[in-house]
């Protein structure tokens, strides 16, 4: 079982950027007004931010990182680790991390690499970042996590189009031997790899003319093979099956209960799914912040975006115990529990 604790690293700051353009699901004319209302009520997405064509995930990451570095007052020379996590990278080749390293003006003495994960990406990223900093004693690291998901969703697919919003985030970590340990429980099940998938464009099904042929997959569901497909019921059942045991196992391992944590930040998957998990965990509404209503499902960015949007006042002014859980595409899921103590957190940036 991948349950472990990492000492000596503290989260120093967190920031998020969203595209300026906002769309409302009330205007989603592909489905009836009644369906739009039901969608908003049940799935929980009312508004979403949508990147303009040509805007890449790295642009939003760069904006988040620049603001965060300046508010932290960091010396850029000391940033020796940069991890970029996304499923919407700038190019097929090369990695995006290097592009951001250069654009931020970081030194060549910087480890920079990409990790391809979605809903669980930030949680996995915190583990990769803190583990490496702990073992290398690198002083400062930047975790850049986000996605532009709206480009690859078909307008004529009611099961995906109204769900996703775009966002990207930056989280800063410092080597600090006085930092309390950060606890993880990470899991994977690739047997469900096709529950959320863009089938064409990789090496398995290389892009071809037929990748762009639209097909009907159900009532109100038309898309091509270069667009995202989401098996809602399968993902829903996966989350209801795996998330609660994962969190409970971690609590048991660290001898804590839910009462020991101030807030539980979940990947903003879908309001009904998240509320079901909240009820299964017996968590008070006040302890479970949401951003799905105003930003939609922002994939890998949803946990840090929700922290910045909903907990900014708390994390900048006092000690807060956070438990966060990401779950979805892969299938991949995991929980991270950590204390954050008066960290830097600029307001959300409109890009």
């Amino acid at each position: 079982m991948a349950i472990f604790s990492i000492p000596n690293v503290r989260m120093a700051g967190i920031s998020a950027a969203v595209p300026r353009k906002e769309v409302s699901n009330l205007d989603y004319k592909w489905v009836s007004v009644k369906d739009r209302e039901m969608l908003i009520k049940t799935v929980g997405v009312e508004k979403r931010r949508v990147a303009e064509a040509g805007t890449a995930t790295s642009d939003l990451c760069f904006a988040s990182a620049e603001k965060l570095i300046s508010e932290l007052g960091w010396d850029k020379k000391e940033i020796e680790l940069l991890i970029f996590i996304s499923q919407s990278r700038d190019y097929i080749i090369p990695s995006t991390s290097g592009i951001i390293q250069d654009r931020l003006g970081l030194s060549h003495s910087c480890v920079a690499y990409d990790i391809g994960l979605g809903c669980s990406g930030w949680v996995y990223g915190v583990s990769a970042m803190t583990s490496m900093m702990h073992s290398t004693k690198i002083k400062k690291g930047l975790l850049l996590v986000g996605d532009i998901s709206t480009l690859t969703a078909s307008y004529r697919d009611k099961s995906t189009y109204p769900l996703f919003g775009d966002a990207a985030t930056a989280t800063a970590f410092e080597y600090d031997e006085s930092a309390p340990p950060i606890d993880f429980n990470l899991e994977s099940d690739g047997s469900g790899y096709d529950a959320i998938i863009i089938p064409d464009g990789g090496m398995r099904n290389f892009i071809s003319k037929s990748s762009f042929d639209y097909k009907k997959f159900g009532k109100g569901i038309y898309r091509n093979r270069f667009q995202i497909a989401l098996n809602g019921i399968e993902v829903f059942n996966f989350a209801l099956r795996e998330v609660v045991p994962n969190m409970k196992k971690l609590l048991q391992e660290v001898s804590k209960t839910t009462a020991d944590y101030d807030y539980f930040v979940f990947h903003q998957a879908n309001l009904l799914m998240n509320e079901t998990i909240r009820k299964m965990m017996k968590l008070d509404k006040e302890k479970v912040p949401y951003t799905i209503r105003q930003y939609g499902n922002t994939s890998s960015a949803s946990i840090p975006l929700t922290i910045v949007s909903e907990l900014r006042e708390q994390i900048t002014s006092r000690k807060v115990n956070l438990m966060t859980c990401g779950f979805g595409v892969g299938l991949s899921w995991g929980t991270v529990a950590m204390e954050v103590d008066k960290i830097v957190c600029p307001a959300i940036i409109d890009y």
Binding site: K34, D35, M38, L39, T42, V43, S159, G218, K219, G232, I233, E234, F236, N237, L240, R241, V244, N270, L272, M273, E275, T276, K279, M280, K282
Partner: protein
């Protein structure tokens, strides 16, 4: 006959009766007039059935009975009683 649904993930103790099952459905779907659903009601005729309704049903069964039903279970059910029998077999 009354039996109790107790599973590994028991969050509530709901009696496993058709009456309560119908009540639970009525609570989740607020457009539904109370008393409209019967054992032999073909649920796709009552609801404007879509995948969101399926998710609401799955969530209710999970929270009330601690049981997981899937798309196939819903697909092969016609009536409320068919659904009830599937849920009963899974708790």
């Amino acid at each position: 006959m009354f039996t109790f649904a107790i599973s590994v993930n028991t969050y509530k103790l709901t009696t496993m009766t058709l009456e309560d099952f119908i009540k639970n459905i009525e609570t989740e779907f607020d457009d539904l007039e109370p008393g409209k659903l019967k054992a032999d009601t073909v649920f796709r005729e009552v609801f404007d059935w879509n995948s969101i309704n399926a998710l609401i049903l799955i969530a209710m069964v999970k929270t009330e009975y601690g049981a997981a039903i899937n798309a196939e279970d819903i697909q092969k059910s016609k009536t409320i009683n068919d659904l009830f029998e599937i849920v009963k077999s899974k708790v």
